[in-house]
Symmetry: C2
Subunit: 305 residues, 2 copies
Amino acid sequence: MVKDCNEISNQALYIGIDGGGTKCRAILANAAGMLLGEGIGGPANPFYGVECACNSIEEASIKAVADAGLPSSKLKDIVAGVGLAGVNLPNLHRELCDWKNPFLEMYLTTDMDIANIGAHDNMYGAVIIIGTGSVGYVNTPSNKFMLGGYGFPISDKASGAWLGLKAIEHTLLVLDKFKGSSLLAEKICEFYQINTGIELSEKLVGYASSQYAKIASLVFNCALKGDEYALEIIEEGVEYISALANRLVEGESLRLCMIGGLAKYWRSRLNSKTAAYFSDVKQQPEFGALKLAIRNWAKEDRKIA
Amino acid sequence: MVKDCNEISNQALYIGIDGGGTKCRAILANAAGMLLGEGIGGPANPFYGVECACNSIEEASIKAVADAGLPSSKLKDIVAGVGLAGVNLPNLHRELCDWKNPFLEMYLTTDMDIANIGAHDNMYGAVIIIGTGSVGYVNTPSNKFMLGGYGFPISDKASGAWLGLKAIEHTLLVLDKFKGSSLLAEKICEFYQINTGIELSEKLVGYASSQYAKIASLVFNCALKGDEYALEIIEEGVEYISALANRLVEGESLRLCMIGGLAKYWRSRLNSKTAAYFSDVKQQPEFGALKLAIRNWAKEDRKIA
């Protein structure tokens, strides 16, 4: 995406960054939101290393700038909006703020916040993000809070990791003959190519939440085929999502979106009352991050030199 | 415990070792089972490092030998019985067997096996071990199997880590107002000195199962005071232990013991039918390990030089 460099280099430029657990997306745009370049970097979940996250942010940003035909030295003139998991934790927030970042200015917020801004395209609203983890988030002039999202294994009901854990727990009880056999247990054994509880536990030693999440779709598939235990797990997830949606909207006519890798699975399982809460996502999180950068920089009433 | 060295040094000597997650116990005895020395070493759960476990076994053994007034070089004439968690997993078993151990001979088995031998003093029987983890184990001429014990967070219902996790899950739902307040949630917040879900999750980042287990007794205390949620958790644990006891004994009049840090709590909560299954423990696991060493060495019909 190479533009005329002279034309671009005199504009006020902004980068929007969505740092995820597997990759980091960066988009470069001007103040009008016109997309000029894109870049992908490595993992940027600061839970698994602040330095790695910072490197990935810089990597993705340099690629976005290069994509627009600009040198990496240009970053020092660019205002960045960055959304990262975990920066609502004071310690991680502090560490990220201490980073000598390459930008003119960096506005740091949570992955939830940029997803919310993107989903509603700058309008106020709430989001339920369901991928490896799950969280509910609302941000309006009168209300700003999160529900769930405290991580694996203590929280994040209905998330991919939660589904995976429930399926594994069930499979071990079947293998120990505390429960009768089930399609779900069969599919899990097939997936891991194991026959005993010991073999299964050996496969899972040191497993991170993202690895449990890999089997989440098996639970939905078995539920579709009528497996009783898969249906029980899905029902518990649906109940939680319904309660979460209720709590986020609390009677207000607030815009609510569900996003993340499992959103499409869950939306198809909701009852019509809960399903009616949800609107479609307007833009992806990296666009939310971009909007945050443009908006906050304008508020500060400054001009890029 | 210093004896006459000359007298001891001509006897056939045996060491029994119980390697646990926080420490490793070693006892030294002669073929008649007369206790000659004791020693404690560091953590010896091979899950958290095979080298560390081996070092702790050697450390505890050297101390036991020194306690009997013998030099550490004596280990090469001693037959050891060693019980360790996780050595039912083929990979860990192999690694431990590859260890150039300091003994004349080393018989390696699981922590469950030595607990079982000790609990029934060489008779056949079954055990339910409930501490940080939980497992059921039976070993008779016709039956040898384990139930549960696959580790945290996928298994080990009724264990300390399971109780802790359940209590934390409950507390986060209370803090998010998905559930009404409870004594249990209050006590957990007090224990961790926190007021919000974020603060609680921050305390738990990177928590190992043993750290969840630290709050297990809070659940029992709150149940004693009638807290509804604590009682729910305890009830689920009791159901599991009852099913486990049934499965281990399966109609046979097999001796069954419950051991581990939480045994006394659980035994007091069982209904009279399940409680009637249980006998008292005869000896501690390290004595089981010692018996294993003496028995296996005798079977091989060899003599210590």
